[in-house]
Amino acid sequence: MNPSCREAEKSGSPERLSLLASAISSRALQVAAGGPGEKAWTNGRVVFVDASIDRREQIDAVAVQASLLAAGSLDTDVVRRLTRRSALARRYLAVEGHRALAAIADLLPPSVRTLIDSNVAARADSPAASLAAALSRESVADPPDSFGTIRARHLLTSINRADSSATTRQDAPREQRNHVLAELAEDEDDGTAADLFSSPVGGRGALGRLLGKLLEVVRQLNGGGPPGADAPTHRTRAGTRTGRNPVLSTGMAGIVEEAAIERRGTRYPEWDVHRRRYRQDWCTVQEVEPRPKDGTPLFVSDAYGLRRPLARLGVGLDRFRRRVQGDDIDIDAVVEARVEVMAGSAPDEAVYIESLRRRRDLSVLLLLDSSGSAAEPGATGQTVHEQQCAAAAALTVALHELGDRVALYAYCSRGRSAVQLMPVKRFDDGLDTAVMRRLHGLVPVAYSRLGAAIRHGAAVLEDRGGTSRRLLVVLSDGLAYDHGYEPAYGAADARRALAEARRRGTACLCLSIGAHTDAETLRLVFGSAAHATIPTIEQLSHVIGPLFRAALRSADIPRPLKGRR
């Protein structure tokens, strides 16, 4: 057993039960810690369970909620009739819970199967029948505590959201926060009888929970960056931004402090377009570890159909026959050589098969814009940042599975001395949940000094990529802005940085996903590097193949491996 799973065993966090929940419900279902003393409930994508109860009870509670989902007990038409009728919901749960468990009893762990009361389960054979039983005047015993509760309104909002944007994948905790108000409203009509005697202000009372939740939100807000970090970072020539609200970024102050302590960093020059010369050692780039965020979903293999177009990029041969040296004998060549010897002529000595695994000789570094401007809502309602993250994840997974070397770095900056690159996945990191956690933990904040980020990204790629073909992919809204880095200056610098990289044989591709930046601005920033604006991530699979190919072709000149400055 490896150390990490021993560790996970020790910590009693309910997240560990996510796979169990997914297996029982046969859908992607997360488990998260709910409020203390709260009965287990689900919104259809996350099961919330009290982390303080013991493991056995947690398992039971999760299994019941997952079974309800699996057995169709929480489908819209039934749930709609339970809204605002908590007593009915309780009676329904008492009958339907047993029915749902019994319906998939074969799949349940032995310990959970003991929960089933077959007498009750026999009363109904469908959710509708359970509802009828709950509506009737028959006496129905209260459901056991392990059955948790049904929160009809949460389920409905969750289902509606899933319907309206079927491809949207959000993670649970963020959603939890958005739901604070709705949850409070529902808590009231839930009539939490068990809490009658606890203090209404402290502890578990409704008011206490209200205060707790308000304070929690406030604590998150005051962790912002330096003054001005929340201000809009740029003027834009594009007139079509949908979100007119001020940009709100909730970055953590801690990153800045760490940056201040760690003054060591790599210095890069910057192109001063006004004086037409470089400013040597102008920018300092630090690599800052991103903060992982718990409870993110597993990565999905080939989420947007990128693998097929990317797979076709493979070029070159892998086995070479009739070589003078090699690791296998080319039988056909040997036979011919022997025949020639017999015939008295000089044989060809090239009789080996050489394995040169150069089939996918490609390393890719994805550079993800994590500046405040990415927090603006894009065309589809998701923020640019969310779309870029989804694209970065999909590209990383697809390229990794194809056997390419992939790294993913996010960048933002606060002036020339604090350009930060956050390694979400380094070249030598494996692709695992930790990577996805770091990616989902990114918060768009501050500005983007694009040129320095590109220079550092290209340097990392050339240093650690380790292949002769290298591709730098910039995922950005194309807005370069920082202190002393106004758009025209920034665009010229970014353009310059891309040109430098390409001169050293690193292909560059700039993708703008879901942003409203107009084509002309992008052309200013990305120059003659391959670039594209893609309205939604779903369209990525159509264009990614030609884009990668075009980018690689433009830099496809044999170069020494380390051709750095």
Binding site: E7, R16, A23, R27, P110, L298, T433
Partner: protein, 278 residues
């Protein structure tokens, strides 16, 4: 020429001709009837199914029933036509033709099984075309002759549609020459029998392992790339038969092989603990 001997041995493919007992195979649906009908009609067969669901075992049982030798070739991406058909080797200063496994099967009227055929290069699979359709012929360019397949010859290829080889797909022209038999994981009661028989564990343990396997299989849609196959469950069962506790066995034989991701591993370990509770 040290490689020659090894090559010559490798050229033959794997032949199984033991007639001890019928390899254990429990039919799930009509696959045995389809296979035998296709065999009698001289049709080629395409076996589809996830890894470890019993494709090879099914074929062993069929070869036993039909009393034909079985030649197995594990295809890989460097398999050439010569590897299948045969090549000239040198023996004592003379060139000598050595049949490849496919040619041997054609001559002897054996069942030739190309495992994971999509792994083979497409130009290699084209050699199967005249064999797979009504002609049942194998042209051997280098010898300048065309062999007619002996009665009893049957070409069987297998492939795993979910397998992550994107560039590789079976050509339509190849597929359409075949009769397809789709195998899946067996239903729980059958799988229990299989695990109990193969691993030599009691029925209770087999049932527990199968229940765990079935739960893990429901995770397929949620990011787990490969799920617990029957083979994996049997491996766990065999560890149990050796005296390990079911939990230990499942951790080693089920959770470990399925994933390297530590979060997924701990989730699986959790499932194992819940399903295999004592």
């Amino acid at each position: 020429m040290a490689g020659d001997g090894a090559r010559a041995a490798g050229l033959g493919g794997v032949v199984s001709t033991t007639r001890a007992a019928r390899p254990y195979y429990v039919p799930v649906a009509n696959e045995e009837r389809i296979f035998k009908a296709a065999f009698r009609q001289g049709l080629s067969v395409l076996l589809k199914g996830p890894t470890g669901c019993g494709k090879t075992r099914f074929l062993e049982a069929m070869a036993y029933d039909l009393e034909r030798p079985l030649l197995t070739v594990a295809c890989h991406d460097d398999l050439t036509t010569a590897d299948l058909v045969g090549r000239f080797l040198l023996r004592g200063g003379e060139t000598e033709w050595v049949d490849g496994p496919l040619t041997r099967a054609v001559r002897e009227g054996a069942i030739c099984y190309l495992d994971e055929v999509v792994e083979a290069r497409q130009d290699t699979t084209v050699v199967l075309h005249p064999l797979a359709d009504h002609r049942r012929q194998l042209p051997i360019e280098r010898l300048g002759l065309t062999l007619d397949a002996a009665p009893g010859f049957c070409l069987v290829v297998s492939y795993n549609p979910g397998y992550q080889s994107v560039l590789k797909d079976l050509k339509d022209s190849t597929r359409q020459r075949m009769v397809a038999i789709e195998l899946g994981f067996p239903p729980a009661d059958v799988e229990e029998k299989i695990v109990a028989h193969e691993a030599g564990v009691d029925h209770g343990n087999a049932a527990k392992l199968v229940r765990l396997g079935q739960a893990i299989r429901r995770l397929e849609t949620t990011g787990l790339r490969e799920v617990a196959s029957t083979r994996v469950l049997i491996a766990a069962g065999r560890l149990v038969a050796e005296g390990l506790s079911p939990r230990e066995a499942a951790r080693a034989a089920v959770a470990g092989p399925l994933t390297d991701d530590s979060t997924v591993t701990s989730g699986l370990v959790e499932m194992i603990d819940v399903y295999l509770a004592d």
